[in-house]
């Protein structure tokens, strides 16, 4: 039996380098998360204590269960925090490398802008901009391909949701021109 050839090849020129320096270790990230969870538990716990965490005649008051959930959450987070501080791994596990973080931000920041602009431009125009910009600037795909793909995508989405399924999305000035 001859080994079959590799027939589908997709390259990733901007892939994160394997030796990129670490931004932070998993240990640090874990500690930050535990501290945040602890703070959240305290905040929510306080609110539930205020709204009544006691036991009325006919059963628990409305803050009772959430209050004790906060206690459980705080306890588990504290346990995690203490064990993480006490355990010092010899080789620190990398949470994210600089290259990886760059790539993650390359998706996250455009997404953030997309959601931000969606409020004024409407979802369909914003998604056209997101898809076209992303394909061109990050995927380095030719302009005409990026524009064509994103236009078709936005149009198909519009026809599917707005026209066929009656799921209404935020719309902006451009849809208004066409009377939607």
């Amino acid at each position: 039996m001859t080994p079959s050839e590799i027939q589908i090849v997709v390259d990733d020129p901007s892939a994160p380098a394997p030796d990129s320096p670490a931004v932070t270790s998993t240990r640090t990230a874990e500690m930050v998360v535990y501290v945040l969870l602890l703070a959240l538990a305290l905040l929510l716990g306080f609110d539930n204590w205020r709204s009544g965490m006691g036991w009325a005649k006919d059963g628990p008051q409305s803050g009772y269960l959430p209050f004790y959930l906060c206690v459980i959450l705080a306890g588990a987070a504290l346990y995690g925090l203490v064990t993480t501080i006490l355990q010092r791994p010899e080789v620190p596990k990398v949470f994210v490398t600089r290259d990886q973080l760059r790539r993650v931000l390359q998706v996250f920041v455009p997404t953030l802008l997309f959601v931000f602009f969606m409020q004024w431009l409407g979802l369909y125009v914003a998604s056209f901009l997101l898809v076209a910009g992303f394909m061109r600037l990050i995927g380095r795909i030719a302009w005409w391909k990026a524009l064509l793909t994103s236009f078709l995508f936005a149009l198909i989405m519009f026809l599917t949701f707005e026209v066929a399924f009656d799921v209404l999305m935020p719309k902006g000035p451009i849809e208004a021109i066409f009377g939607f």
Binding site: A29, G52, W55, G80, F108, P110, F134, R140, P170
Partner: protein, 503 residues
Amino acid sequence: MEALTLLLHGFAVLLTWKTLALMLVGLLLGIFVGVLPGLGGPNGVAILLPLTFTMDPTSAIVMLSCIYWGALFGGAITSILFNIPGEAWSVATTFDGYPMAQQGKAAEALTAAFTSSFIGSLVAVLLITFLAPRIASFALRFGPPEFFAVYLLTFCSFVGLGREDKHKTVISMALGLLLAAIGMDTVSGQLRMTFGFDPLLRGVNFLVAVIGLFGISEILLTMEERLALRGHAASISLRVVLKVWREMPRYWVTLLRSSAIGCWLGITPGGAIAASFMGYNLAKRFAKDPSTFGKGRIEGVFAPETAAHASGTAALLPMLALGIPGSGTAAILLGGLMVWGLNPGPLLFVEHKDFVWGLIASMYLGNVVGLVIVLSTVPIFAAILRIPFAAVAPMIIVSCAIGAYAIQNAMFDVWLMLLFGVVGYVFKKIGIPLAPFTLALVLGNRAEDAFRLSMIGAGGDMRVFWSNGLVGSISTLAFVLLFWPLIGRLFDLAGRRMRPVKT
């Protein structure tokens, strides 16, 4: 055989052109989602859920469950041809599937994977057909205390039996339950944890959280990886299919064993991932020549795929019969039920016969049609991987945003989805499991209602959870499972103490 009559009725509900077309669309979308890197069953179902909001519940669930079957089938394609498991539960499939593709036997491996998935699902669906109605009619006698005990059992078994660090599971679950409690308290009408912030009045929507946790965070995680891939193209000819099917009966023990493992782990919160590995490992252990595993043995494809699909399907059993999802995807389907205005639980079998039996019938039909589709369209779907991720990623983000917005027509939900995306990304990287969170968020309010209703009924007496044999044994079992790691250690210790005396 009441179940058979009802099942036939289910097929009658299903056999309209519209439902069949939706089924086909669902399967194709599902395979597509399963093949794409960074998307899988739960994400696909969560993202595509908004499409179904305006449908009637039966069409909606048929389409969604078909997306799920499709995604399960699709995961195998990338595992075998590209050595990239599209899903965590396809990891075990790569062990023998990819070597087979390297030896030029990709078509055999794919046929084996699809067929065994089909068999696994079929066994689980048979189980659902005959067991679920019984469980549901038994559960009709449940009052609030019994239901709370069952919820408690679900939560405790996640903590006690999960493989992750216990405190991480507890964090995930407590956080989910807390977020579920935000907003209007259904019993007293009091506002909780809203801090005077209006959008929080409605609470944190389960589906918004799921779209963020599984959709957005998965995109972020995928971007971290090197996205280059090289793989084999394959097309499946009828000759190969028949050849594999002729060989198949020889492996009936493996298939049966994996199906049983899958069904069991699907109903209990073990999940498809554990099932696929267990199926593979047991097949290896019982084989005459375990050393040939991992080098392209067809049995190594049969075993994990059967188990994974049996488990994925069986996870729907507790969801249908009790309103308790057995997996993340089942939890999302449960969330869908609520959006369509159905009340999950044993009453479904009484009040919505069309819906339940239509769904069960669609499991049979969807798997058969799915098998035919994947066998005939593999080359097309393998080629989807050529589409650059830079084009796919923003489209997925847009679909997520549409989904999050459509649920309550609220811009706040889209921001919330982004937040959950970041949370999911960080949690996955530091090993806090997301499944308990999902489960807690979807069950939180129901569990709390059950607890408080039983408290009101019993005048605030906790002993109501041990007031009769049924509820008492469920509650006790819950605590046994919660402390299972400790109990197991005690048994070990006792066993070690006993041994020197005996010998």
